[in-house]
Symmetry: C2
Subunit: 394 residues, 2 copies
């Protein structure tokens, strides 16, 4: 017998970082169901059901709603490469790492990219959007609903009218928001959106739900260049997902799609409104606890995401030491800052299955131990007490 | 409670098509292990171990050996987009659907593509490769080792010298061959290769193992344009897989990587030589059985793949009726023909876990029933008897 690594035996973690989030045992079991062929009538039925459930979660009637066979960033790339042709003018609103990524993706497929910028953690006003649309006359404007790198929530209601009036399409990143706070594809007039499975849908990473409006499909249908990416070419992939031909494009990740199917069932069993309310309630309790411990949020109150709480690392406290202690002593993962926020913020996720009172309380209790080890003083038990008080009044 | 689809309960299948293949229960269990974060020290260890095992399976020392976060076709695209810049001359050898796909991928990233062609089911000679290299002076020559659309095996030994003498890199598609018949990355001088998890590695689809030689890495390092795809940009992804920085690029599909890790352990436990011999033995038994039933192979004997047996549909036999009966009455999936071979061939896979004497016998027995239903006469029991005879002498 050769010298082989041991089998998979992961440590016991609570996933309270920027994703992946905790996964329901039902989803993990579904992923372990026997693989069938990608053209098996059973799998085609699972695809149909997944599309139908995704439409409910995205709150859309869009026919072209499906999962891309890659992680959330592949969903971003799929939206951009299919909607953009070389030379097209694209505006990207950059207030964090993921807006920056979208601009990079657009420039790689030959777009003439204009960015507008806000400091990390802030959001854009309708006037700023209107100004850049007027100035650039873009084909597409891309914006991030939930900036995973900063914890800021971009208000979207009303933006579509501004963008459409300028003759452009509105593309929205809702990787972190879908399933955790309201996102209304049809009501808000969004033309294309992408998400990831590993945030508030609480499915392992590996698929990217996407949806395209009729207006976006029309733009795709009228392309004059082939899509830059073969793998992400929606003009072919859609025949496999939606067309009667079910024409083979690539071999779909069967078991990942099993997992997403079960995760969507869980989301819809709970109901979107109840799920959003749960995320909000746990966010408020976490916030009460953190504030009682003297930990401040990095984002203004009006624009905080309930599922991703970005806080300032208290002065004199060692970022890596605290995250290491949380992971090694308590099995709790939180995220560090990204980009210019590295070493300055922590990102505490309360996403999907991980958004529970139990996780809020155990995290606050464990953080107290870690901050104490760093010499950071707060009133003992203050965080847990404040969170419990918040729950009592919720 | 809303009206929801049922939970995942797949039918009982034997996967004897062109992939996915049957998956070992150990692999499915590994995929259901609790998800951890993509920067968790445990997952980084799993990545290191996976790279080490992939090197053994690819038979290479290449440092840049890893899995791409998409299915096999994303591995193809990752190799091409990272090695090719706009205006580069690329030769692709096309004798099936997947060679054609590679040419399409290369042209989409701006390459000046020259194809050489052989009829589906045939292979290329060293002279043909030498001629086109002399004529075109390409930067890259791409060729398919195991054409999944035709069942033909391309001899590779000696090709690298020809390609390197012309100053080009040799890119090889070994999606279907890896783990089922010999592939020697270092010994054969291959510069870049990609595979898929769902063929002879018997892991569900969703990842693409890739490997790049130092010569290929050098070409990547000297690029003057950004890689056309952000998602597949190896210049960034490699920092996450191999560099001490472990710089975040995208959230890896954690549970898919668990599955691949376990699948590779199984491959190496069996040993590559024993595994190849098993695939060969079952291929010979299947062949004996099919020939005894009057079913002919579509590929010349010298170039048949052991894991993908392409046969001619006997005259007067209804393709879809037989495949439907195999699936519905016996739970056995085989593949139809692709491209110009649609309706003319069947593709019978004996890949990884599915390459067993039991599957060979049950398939031959079931095929007899299906052919009989089509009025196709053969001596009753002849297929099974011939296969058993082949095993007795193996």
């Amino acid at each position: 017998m050769p010298n082989l690594p041991s089998c998979i035996t992961p440590p016991n973690r609570i996933l309270m970082g920027p994703g992946p989030s905790d996964i329901a045992p039902r989803v993990l079991s579904a992923m372990a169901a026997p693989t069938v062929g990608h053209l098996d009538p059973y799998f085609l039925q699972i695809m149909d059901e997944t599309q139908q459930m995704l439409r409910q979660v995205f709150r859309t009637e869009n026919k072209l709603t499906m999962s891309v066979s890659g992680t959330g960033s592949s969903g971003m790339e799929a939206c951009v490469v299919n909607l953009v042709e070389p030379g097209d003018r694209v505006v990207v609103c950059v207030n964090g790492v993921f807006g920056g990524r979208m601009a990079d993706v657009a420039s790689r497929c030959g777009a003439e990219v204009t960015t507008i910028e806000r400091p990390f953690g802030e959001v854009f006003t309708p006037d700023e959007i209107a100004d850049v649309c007027k100035r650039v006359s873009p084909k597409l404007l891309g914006i991030v609903h939930a900036e995973t790198s900063t914890g800021a929530r971009q208000p979207l209601d009303g933006l579509a009218d501004i963008v459409h009036d300028a003759g452009a399409l509105l593309l929205v990143d809702c990787v972190t928001s879908l399933g955790g706070c309201p996102i209304e594809i049809d009501k808000w007039g969004i033309d294309a959106a992408y998400s990831g499975t590993q945030k508030c849908l609480s499915c392992p990473p590996g698929l990217a739900p996407v949806t395209f409006s009729d207006r976006a499909v029309d733009v795709i249908d009228k392309r004059t260049h082939k899509v830059a990416s073969w793998y992400l070419d929606i003009t072919m992939v859609r025949n496999y997902w939606s067309d009667k031909s079910r024409a083979y494009h690539h071999t779909a990740p069967i078991n990942m799609n099993y997992g997403l199917h079960e995760a969507l069932r869980i989301v819809l069993e709970e109901g979107l409104e109840a799920r959003h309310a749960r995320h909000h309630r746990n966010h408020l309790a976490l916030r009460a606890g953190l504030e009682a411990m003297g930990v401040e949020f990095a984002v203004a109150e009006d624009h905080r995401l309930p599922m991703l709480n970005a806080v300032l690392i208290p002065e004199g406290v060692d970022d890596k030491a605290v995250r290491g202690q949380l992971l090694n002593q308590f099995g709790i993962e939180i995220g560090g800052g990204l980009g210019p926020l590295a070493g300055k913020t922590w990102r505490i996720g309360l996403m999907g299955e991980a958004s529970t009172p139990r996780n809020v309380l155990v995290f606050l209790a464990a953080l107290e131990a870690c901050l104490k080890a760093q010499g950071h003083q707060s009133s003992p038990g203050a965080g847990v007490a404040a969170a419990n008080e918040a729950y009592a009044h919720a």
